[in-house]
Structure formats: structure tokens, C-alpha cells
Assembly symmetry: D2
Homo-oligomer: 133 residues x 4
């Protein structure tokens, strides 16, 4: 398993402007945090859909790096997201990611997204990643 530090270093180089941080890497899993600022908000005081989609995508990418190492370049081929509840405006978004299939060519994982400190899921995503041969 790749270390958390190696993954954070890699992502910081790949996505230098990203407000999305990897907080933990486990076996076929990762936890990520999107630091919500005023740019991520929509009128009415909620976090935008693209912020949730980004968190899901980065989180699954981090879980894959943890599993297969930072050399491979996984490419998202499908993302399906259901928006369940309005996230809180003032809270970071936390993504709990776990891989449900690690194949040689395709890796599939799911993500539960929360507003920090609230255990009701705000969105749920499933993503597929192709691994180059």
C-alpha cells in the first residue's frame, strides 16, 4: 500500500490548485476533505454539485493510488452521483471512499459524502477507472 504522504505529494503536483485533501488511506479505501470556501457555495447557502463530484472523483483516485501505487495513471471512465440532501454551507465536505472491484483493467469504487459533523449522507457516488496496460 502506498503511503498517505506519497499520495498527498503526488496529488499536490498533479492538481496544484485543488482544495481537496487526502486525510487517510486504508486497504482499498480513502478519506478525503474538500475545504469549502465562498467559491464553492451557491446562493441559498449550499455547496455546489461540482464540489461534491470533485470530492468523489479525487477520493476514488486517492484510494486507487493507495492500492496500485502512484506510477499508474488511472482515468475516470464513468461517474454516477445521487444528490441526497442539501449540504451545510459552512462545513467541509468529507468523502468516505471504498473500492468494490480492483481488476487489472478496471477499478470501481463507491463514495459516501457528508457535511463534516453530520452523519446523514449528502450524496453518494460510484465511479469506474480504467488502468492503462
Amino acid at each position: 500500500m502506498t503511503t498517505l504522504i506519497a499520495i498527498c505529494d503526488f496529488l499536490a503536483k498533479e492538481f496544484p490548485q485543488s482544495p481537496c485533501l487526502v486525510e487517510a488511506i486504508g486497504p482499498q479505501s480513502a478519506t478525503v476533505r474538500y475545504q469549502v470556501d465562498t467559491q464553492s457555495l451557491r446562493p441559498g447557502g449550499t455547496v455546489s454539485g461540482p464540489v461534491l463530484m470533485t470530492t468523489a472523483d479525487v477520493g476514488l483516485y486517492a484510494a486507487i493510488l493507495g492500492e496500485i501505487g502512484i506510477v499508474a495513471l488511472a482515468v475516470t471512465t464513468n461517474l454516477n452521483i445521487n444528490f441526497l440532501r442539501k449540504p451545510s454551507a459552512g462545513k467541509d465536505i468529507i468523502g468516505e471512499c471504498k473500492l468494490i472491484k480492483v481488476g487489472r483493467r478496471l477499478i470501481i469504487g463507491e463514495v459516501a459524502l457528508y457535511s463534516e459533523g453530520d452523519d446523514r449522507m449528502v450524496a453518494h457516488a460510484v465511479g469506474t477507472y480504467a488502468i492503462p496496460s
Copy 2:
């Protein structure tokens, strides 16, 4: 919560030819079994995709009946399914369903599908159901 017996009676009337049985109903959850026979098999000895989709759909429907009662007529509006591994030909399909949002108008749930006796998920589905007003 509606009882298992009431749900089985209702489904037996709604879908008289269905080979899909409800085995358990819990809080926002259900377990279903698709009795695999030769009709459900594909050459090469595996269970067909439509069998897995049917199990996911019936399982989520059962979990919804358990939650909101058998009077309401939920309608599937979206189903997204990922096929992860080849199911075993000689085994029933088991679907473990849980609802992740129960709204007044939309209910969303996810399903993990297995070949009986094997703990590696063969497919994963997420479905949305509209509840008539």
C-alpha cells in the same frame, strides 16, 4: 415497518411469475434471493445481467414497502448497475439492499449482489424510486 409476510403476499400478487423472494426486511433495508434456474443462465455458465438487475430492482422495492407500507406504488425512475465479477452458475443471487435517502417524493437505495456463499460482490446497483403524492 411493514411485516415480511405482508410484503411477500403483496409481491406474490404483483409479480406472480417472479423467481425473486424476499428473505428479510429491516429498518430501511431488505435481503432478497433470486432462485437461479436454467432460464437465468447464459452460455459459459453464468447468471445473466437482467437477472442481477431484476434482483436489485425487486430488493429496493421490498425495502421501500418495508419503510412506507404496501399501499404506495413506488415507480423506478433510475437504475445504475456495475457488473463486477462473473456470478457462479449454480448459485442463487442474494441482494443486500439499503435505502440511503427516504424523502417524501424520492427514495434512493443501493444494493450489493452476491452469489450465495461467496462474499465477493458480483454487482452493485443504485436505484431511485418516485413516490406518488
Copy 3:
């Protein structure tokens, strides 16, 4: 491009009990028909969700066979379907399929589903297929 006759022969051997017929094969496209009988109906007089999913899956499979030949064994990895309107009980389901990406390893296509003789889409599906190397 593989001929319609070769594809029908192949599918008849692969899925001998299937009520789903291939009606036309074109460049990266196919038209299929699901012959609706009493087994495919639900109380209230409508065609079941699994019938629509099956039609989408078979239709995309046929379009892929037309494109890459009948030797390869494509495997469905993802199917996402939206149910838009109640299909008519007494009408066959027609699926108009077109491939939107033909890669070496993944093929993706979309399907518009209709009740025969009615131009309002009853369902829309997008599917991904993995091609073995």
C-alpha cells in the same frame, strides 16, 4: 460490418430463450425488438423494468457485434437506465441503439426505448462493455 443474419444466428445460439430480436444493424448502431407477452407485463398493464433493461443490453450487444465481429465476447460492465414514461401494455418495445465510443478496450453506447408506434421515449439507457484482449 458483420451481417444481420450472422448476428441473429449468433444471438439465437447464445440466448436461445430470448424474446428479443435484432431488426437492423447499421454503422455503430442497431435496432432491436422485445416481443412483449403476458410474462413481460406488470399489474396495471405495463411492461416491466427488467424487460426494458434487457432490450437495452441486447441492443447494445448487437451493435457491438456489428462493429467488431461475432468472435469477441463483450461483457457489460455498467448500465444506467432512466425510466421516462409508462410503456403501453400491448405493444412491443423497440430499442434504437448507437455506439458513442468504440475503443480497443471499452465500448460505450446509448439506447432510446419506445413502445412500438409511439415516438415518445419510454426509457433511455447508457451502457459500457469491456472487450477482452
Copy 4:
């Protein structure tokens, strides 16, 4: 049908920092442009996944505003996106959106995404929006 100017004014107030412009509104359809800048790029010189998802979401939202007027507040409930080809780094992303169901409570549409000037689809999305009663 709501006019293009009214929709642009509304979106400019709702999403003041958005780099996504509405270029045309038609019957149950819209065309949008995401102005790609260095922030939207990933190492390797391609447009990021979240940019494509944002374009799909904004485009469907614009098509819905065109159809039902700018007073209603549609909420995205599901977005499914397939990434088909690497978009060109130096080109804007164009989204061609059309609604496939306009119901009282749910509106569903699909989006074909392109790099400007290239007719090969780079991504395809389907989204569902709930309309408040």
C-alpha cells in the same frame, strides 16, 4: 419559452464566478460553453473531469429554465457521466443539451460534450432534476 437573455441574467446572479456561458436556448434544449483556462487543465494538457461535469449540469439547468421559466428552482438529483475521449487542452468545452422528459416533478435530459471544433464527443451525461411543487 424563456429568452436567452433572461436565462443568462439569472445564471450570472446565481453563479457569479461561473466560467460557463449559455450560447443558445431552443425547444427543450440548450447549448453551453465552458471557457477553459489554466485552472481547468490537468497535467498532461487536458480538461479536468469536474469541468465536464459542471458543463453538463449547467447546460441541463439552462435547458430546464428555458422550458419552465426562471422562477422555479430545479435541483439536480442524479448525474451520470461517461468520459469518452481526452478533450483538447486549448479548446473550450461545448455542451449540447436536450431534455428527454419534462414531467411535473422530474425533468431528465442528456448532454453531448465536445472540444470546440471537433465533432467527436468527449463525454456524455444524463441528469435528473427535481422540480419543487
